[in-house]
Symmetry: C2
Subunit: 321 residues, 2 copies
């Protein structure tokens, strides 16, 4: 089962969520900060809503209820993207009219805040405090993940555990609670709720590790940005950590790190990492997370939903960009 | 009854909330963005928590419950201050090391997000969906207010209604829901809940109008920033609107507006507004809101709490900076 089939199966419902997403964002505000509308119109895989819907299928499926978690989860994801833009915008506009740069950044920041608030407000329509708790706690962790990523910039001392904890907070948690909240909102059994959480967590870890691999192995065209952008920004991901600590190229990296000259050898470093065993190592780790995601689902009876979840897991591991 | 007496009466409980505020913010993160700790340590009037506690006194007062709304409300207020700092920081650091400027802004933004999320997460500990709803809806309006303020910058066409709606969202709503949520959390009657909302709303309107007056009439020393900072930033408040539309000086203002030369006449404009009838007009309007706040409380039986609420209203109207 490929991703297209999975989406086709949920097509009507995903389109409904899409419309609700548009409704959720006040158009008067979207006019102000065009990139939030742009972001919305640009689409995206809407993976978090899809996880919600699939989680819902394992209980009493009710789209009218599920939308109150599916839309918020996508909104939270969008809000983080809007906030990620803030600083980038300010760089791109360097040298441009100050007032304009200031305006855009402020508006982008408050638009992100607004989208966050809309997400929580919409979720609060469901009279289930557990849902609000899960959602707002995940948001706390998400923010900690973002802050940790900044703190860990250019820190070559970090170990694998620091990396894994960071991508858990930054990415995997939102995947985890998507399926979980879908199941909770549909009144699924605690066992299913727990399995959806673990499934999403493992898929999310694999998703981010794959993202971090592709940043080195995909082409600039596929990525839509220069190869090795993470490293260029000081974000040290698994393949880079492997080269610096485990691979035969580690002596070269350690020398650069000691001299503080990584920046001067960026292209060389990226090319070493591309060819290193770290890529295969990271791929194996991603595959292991996918295996765990699938084995979590094993006890569930056969169903279209189970097949879809397994299909998504497969896709995540195999994606090329 | 003056403000000191009111605070003395709640002293122990306000101190407890203060400790809970410190606990709510992860110290590892506060280290990263020092101004959030700074903000916390700098104190402040903690008016929102005080409103919560007083609202709670009108029901079954339970500090252990009330802290789950008192702390979040102050956190939300703090988060908006942290986000307000983001752009200012970027200006102050103009010309400084880029990486450092970038770092600080990003960290400040995510720290603000983190504080927002912590606020909602803490409130979600109370098993009362109504509380989550009121809180998250107010956050939505707060963000819209911030965005409106940016949209309305330098817009001299705006009328009194636009100004009033903006300060309602930006300031009065958070005051309104503070007392309201205190009453809700304490299980007060719907009538009291409604009155606390209206009281807070009216006090909040008066508070912001007074703030906007003081920006013209206080001294630079009292304000801690140049007189007329609002106007200098393009934020057109009630006294400025009065001068441009109603006062005898309106011809001068209209000419500047037509020529687009307000910026060139800023000091002159500020001095005209300072001496204008707009100040007295704005003071009368603030006083009217305070009257309404007090009359909302009138039907309540005499109590220390009622006396405190009336005392706070009095203080708001009379404050000098």
């Amino acid at each position: 089962m490929n991703l297209v089939d999975i989406y086709l199966q949920l097509k009507g419902d995903v389109q409904y969520i899409e419309k609700e997403l548009e409704k959720a964002i006040d158009s008067r505000l979207a006019d102000l900060y065009q990139s939030s509308t742009h972001l919305l119109k640009a689409g995206g895989k809407r993976m978090r809503p899809v996880f919600v819907l699939l989680g819902g299928k394992l209980g009493n499926y009710d789209l009218e209820k599920l939308k109150y978690v599916a839309v918020p989860l996508e909104l939270i994801h969008m809000a983080t993207l809007v906030h990620d833009d803030v600083i980038d915008d300010s760089d791109k506009r360097r040298g441009a009219d100050t007032v304009r740069a200031k305006w855009d950044n402020r508006v982008a920041m408050y638009t992100g805040d607004y989208i966050f608030a809309r997400a929580l407000s919409m979720a609060s329509e469901l009279p289930n405090p557990q849902i609000h708790q899960i959602l707002s706690r995940a948001m706390v962790d998400l923010c900690i993940g973002e802050i940790e990523q900044i703190r860990d910039l250019n820190n070559w001392e970090q170990g694998l555990r620091v990396y894994l904890r960071r991508i858990k907070r930054k990415t995997a948690l939102l995947f985890a609670i998507s399926g979980q909240l879908g199941a909770v909102a549909a009144g699924a059994t605690p066992d299913i709720v727990r399995r959806m959480y673990l499934y999403g967590y493992n898929v999310g870890m694999a998703f981010q590790i794959t993202d971090d691999i592709l940043d080195f192995t995909a082409t600039e065209k596929q990525l839509g940005k220069p190869v090795g952008s993470d490293l260029r920004q000081g974000n040290i991901t698994l393949p880079a950590l492997y080269s610096a600590k485990v691979g035969p190229e580690k002596e070269t990296f350690q020398a650069w790190i000691r001299q503080g000259s990584i920046d001067a050898h960026l292209d060389e470093a990226i090319s070493l990492i591309r060819k290193s065993e770290g890529i295969a190592y990271a791929n194996r780790l991603a595959a292991r997370y996918i295996e765990r995601a699938c084995s979590v689902l094993q006890p569930l009876p056969q169903s279209k939903t189970k097949k879809s979840l397994l299909g998504i897991a497969d896709f995540i591991c195999g994606r090329k960009f």
